[in-house]
């Protein structure tokens, strides 16, 4: 009930501010009225001169780049974290590069990615993946280090092999923490992708927002931002559901 009220208040405040702005300047596009916003939505959902709908083209491009990047990053982050947690030699070997990589701001390193990977799909994927791998790997690594040795020793007394200790005990303990880490990595991943699209993209959300912002078509920019926010929220919610499904013990335990 209070949540609904806060949303209504936001809508009312926006309407008021927009209305005041249009009293000063009727042609204003920085704080578009609801009618202008509807025009903007029409603009990106209708066919343009190239017989394309912006929203469809942008969504396909951005979501493909995002899913490949996240997919690779999540896989590598998990595998590297497990390796670091399970083998002390790999831990010593991988820790310095991870610590270094974690400290490089991805958006500042954009130029490096363009030089190394060009401006195609591989650049976006590399940027997202390398951006989220350190945080994910460190989370998994620390989660494994946190496991009490009693739990592992006990697994051996129950007849587990080394491999089974990893799959049946370590993996299951680490999984919910890993899902939490992925949830936290979604935000940075979107930032990296949009930033790269803004600089070199010729299609995609970042490209469209930059272009329309230059034309001060904020009636396109705001709905695009809203869509991005919804996308991020939906992913987060989905991951929470996944965690509740795969690790029903986790939330109960943290109560």
């Amino acid at each position: 009930m209070l949540a609904l009220l806060s949303v209504l208040l936001l809508v009312a405040a926006y309407t008021l501010i927009s209305h005041r702005q249009h009293q000063v300047n009727p042609r204003d596009t920085t704080i578009p009225s609801w009618g202008q916003l509807a025009d903007g939505v029409r603009k990106f959902t209708q066919l343009d001169r190239k017989e394309e709908r912006w929203i469809v083209e942008d969504s396909i491009a951005t979501s493909r780049r995002f899913s490949y990047g996240i997919g690779l990053g999540v896989t590598c982050g998990f595998v590297l974290g497990m390796l670091m947690g399970c083998f002390s030699s790999l831990e010593a070997f991988l820790q310095p590069p991870m610590a270094l990589l974690a400290k490089v701001p991805q958006t500042a390193a954009l130029a490096v990615y363009f030089v190394a990977f060009g401006t195609g799909m591989s650049m976006y994927v590399a940027m997202i993946a390398l951006g989220i791998i350190p945080a994910l790997a460190v989370t998994v690594h620390l989660a494994i280090k946190d496991l009490p040795s009693e739990m592992l020793d006990k697994a051996y007394t129950l007849g587990a092999s080394n491999f089974e200790v990893v799959t049946e005990v370590v993996f299951k303990q680490v999984l919910p923490k890993f899902i939490d880490a992925v949830r936290l990595a979604i935000g940075p991943a979107i930032v990296f992708l949009i930033a790269a699209e803004m600089v070199v993209g010729d299609v995609g959300f970042g490209y469209r927002i930059r272009l329309q912002f230059k034309l001060t078509n904020m009636n396109v920019v705001y709905p695009y931002l809203a869509i991005l926010a919804c996308f991020g929220f939906a992913l987060d919610y989905g991951l929470r559901l996944l965690q509740a499904k795969l690790c029903p013990w986790y939330q109960r335990g943290s109560k």
Binding site: P148, S149, E150, M151, D153, K154, A155, Y156, T157, L158, G159, A160, S161, F163, E164, T167, E168, V169, K172, Q173, C247, P248, W249, Y250, R252, G253, K255
Partner: protein, 308 residues
């Protein structure tokens, strides 16, 4: 003694010594636990109880000596934790991501199936899984947790968790079960219930002995509660660093060893012991094992002689 009887032990520590650099912990410790015995291990803090337990479990090997268990007549050296030895810890006793039922069934799954079998032969695994869970359910009934099978550890009380942990170890039918201060974090009433549960297992041992079968459970329980040791154990073993090592020709304390080893009174599960009657035993143990002023001849209070 025939050769089969000679081999009828659950655990045999032979000349076990351990030290961490200059810190001498265990010295020439000999302890032979017969199958079916419930050994209560007591000793002052710092006497190396935990070190000994870890050595028996196989996670931290002793510097000298050997620790043997046997399985199907085969001698096993405790080089690493294995399914011939069970353990019940005070903390971290259960896997938080499994329900009580699956915690108990876990050992059957790990011991009797392989990862490849479970991943590749789904239908056969599903059948086996049902059987394992039925056996686990029967075990949980036995320890009085029929109602709590589908609870996660975080939803159980400390006493329930320890019951499940004991069932988890029992279902593997190990040669020996080690309990490391298992009831240390529980309140008095719960402790007594769990002691009764252990005594019920001891009763099964006696019935098996009476029928001439091999008793199913062999236990080493480490506790700091003398009354608990007297009630649960059928044998009291005191480990102490306060023994007469000067007489044995050492200049500094070479570490703790067994200074007390006597049979304990045996109780029925429903019998409420009158602890007043054991004041003498407690006094003797406090004197011999716990008192740092008393340097005991290590052989004086050993009536259950280990093989030296």
């Amino acid at each position: 003694m025939t050769s089969t009887e000679q081999h009828n032990f659950g655990l045999h520590c032979r000349g076990v010594s351990h030290w961490f650099g200059d810190n001498k912990v265990l010295f020439n410790l000999n302890l032979k636990v017969d199958a079916g015995q419930f050994v209560a291990l007591v000793g002052p803090s710092g006497c190396g109880k935990s070190t000994l337990l870890r050595a028996i479990l196989g996670t931290h090997l002793p510097e000298e000596g050997e620790i043997l268990t046997q399985q199907n007549g085969r001698l096993l050296n405790a080089a690493r934790p294995g399914r011939d030895r069970g353990i019940v810890y005070q903390k971290y006793s259960l896997y938080p991501f499994l329900t009580a039922l699956d915690n108990v069934a876990l050992g059957l799954k790990l011991d009797q199936t392989t990862t490849a079998f479970r991943w590749l032969n789904w239908s056969a695994w599903a059948t086996k899984r049902v059987k394992f869970r039925e056996r686990a359910a029967a075990f949980l009934e036995k320890v009085g947790l029929g109602q709590a099978m589908h609870l996660y550890p975080s939803e159980m009380s400390g006493g329930m968790q320890q019951r499940v942990a004991i069932a988890q170890a029992l279902i593997m039918e190990p040669e020996i079960i080690l309990l490391d201060e298992p009831f240390g974090a529980l309140d008095e009433a719960t402790r007594e219930e769990l002691q009764e549960m252990l005594l019920r297992l001891y009763e099964e041992n006696r019935e098996a002995n009476a029928r001439g079968n091999k008793p199913p459970y062999t236990l080493v329980i480490v506790t700091h509660e003398l009354n608990e040791a007297i009630r649960v154990g059928d044998r009291l073993v005191g480990l102490s660093q306060y023994w007469d090592w000067k007489a044995a020709g050492h200049e500094r304390s070479p570490g703790a060893t067994v200074v007390y080893d006597k049979p304990a009174p045996i109780f029925c599960p429903d019998e409420r012991p009158d602890y007043e009657l054991f004041a003498d035993i407690r006094k003797e143990i406090r004197h011999v094992v716990y008192n740092p002023e008393v340097f005991q001849d290590p052989d004086e209070h050993i009536s259950l002689s280990p093989t030296r």
